[in-house]
Symmetry: C2
Subunit: 205 residues, 2 copies
DNA sequence: GCTTGTGAATCTCTTCACAGCG
DNA sequence: CGCTGTGAAGAGATTCACAAGC
């Protein structure tokens, strides 16, 4: 659901301005800074049961906490990264520092020479140990950056080992039981779409 | 619009099976292989004005051509890559070989030591030459892989130089005239969303 | 005047269901 | 039959618009 994404975006902005004065924001400010509309902001916050104050808006620190209660697992979620090619290695630093709740705790690659290394604080394992490590670390979220031909099987192994959400970068259709959330980020398709709209766009506008 | 993405997906699958027998597919086969429904496939093809044959389905090579006519620029689109950090460098090989119509022809980075190099067949320029190269090469599509703090300004410079579509990987809101298509692929937000749904998913399903 | 909260209207996208055809 | 093409219905998401409160 798109609401979940917007809540993440709201929170990112709120964290930037937390601690400053004033200590609250209006729906129109939040909308302006996150690329949506005031009505949408109010509807989203209503939906998660967060109430503002007439005339004062929404308390910033309270709202950050409320979005956290709604979105986050209390103890954070350990994440697996499967596939240490160019893209996989590029993604590691994204989560090495930044994210308080999502931490990549294990990486896997079919190339056994990568096993045992530690990249950006993340331990690398051979693909054969995938199920064992996923179970041991109770990992339920995975990022898939293997080649398209290997994506389906990797996704099935992850699911069998207990993973319930997969962020897939491989240009491949992954069909899993609907209890597993799969989101595919297909760079080629996104670029084709953008090129399509760019082409029908006026030269000056 | 989502239809554009689905057309890309259809085409990718059709190319895989092109040249094999039979030379046509049914809407239910195409739907099955691309993760949608037969009615959706028929609606999408209707929308681009492609007609099938009752009982025989849709001619594969004709459909590939029709989708190409609809989606692609006849001569292909030159693409710029802005930001040669980990992610930017990881994306170059994606388009170096594969794509017949989208080719990264120029890369930019604020680090002048990267200028002049050629990575994956793509020439690197200093950031200062951005406008000049974009105009010279008539680039209208760009991939943005700079840090979040630099994203907005880079996007504005690209737009001023003639770019009309941006695939943005920076976790930043980019606001541009609506004639410019911006698609943000925000990995952190995608992962937060997946973790959210994974958490409410049953352990066995 | 300014806000928020929200029912109702609207817009967009998807699916149904069936006529028409081979 | 089993298929496509499509009007009509349905489902979801967004926006409108206004009551209520400061």
């Amino acid at each position: 659901m798109k609401r979940i994404e917007r809540l993440s975006v709201y929170r990112r902005f709120l964290r930037e301005i937390a601690g400053q004065e004033p200590s609250s924001v209006y729906s129109h400010e939040l909308a302006e800074k996150t690329g949506t509309t005031p009505a949408q902001v109010r509807r989203d916050l209503m939906e998660i049961g967060f109430a503002g104050h007439t005339k004062k808006g929404y308390g910033i620190s309270e709202l950050i906490a409320a979005i956290g209660d709604y979105l986050d697992s209390p103890d954070g979620d350990p994440v697996a990264l499967v596939g240490l090619g160019n893209l996989g290695r590029a993604l590691l630093p994204f989560f090495a520092d930044h994210h308080p709740k999502l931490k990549i705790v294990a990486a896997f690659d079919s190339d056994p020479r990568k096993a045992g290394r530690v990249i950006c604080g993340c331990r690398c394992y051979p693909a054969a140990e995938l199920e064992e490590v996923i179970r041991r670390e109770k990992i339920r979220v995975a990022i898939l950056t293997v080649p398209a031909a290997a994506a389906r099987k990797a996704a099935e192994r992850l699911t069998a080992a207990g993973v319930r959400g997969i962020l897939n970068f491989a240009p491949a259709l992954i069909r899993l039981p609907k209890a597993v959330t799969v989101e595919t980020m297909d760079i080629t398709i996104a670029l084709e779409k953008i090129a399509f709209f760019a082409r029908r766009s006026p030269d000056e506008g």
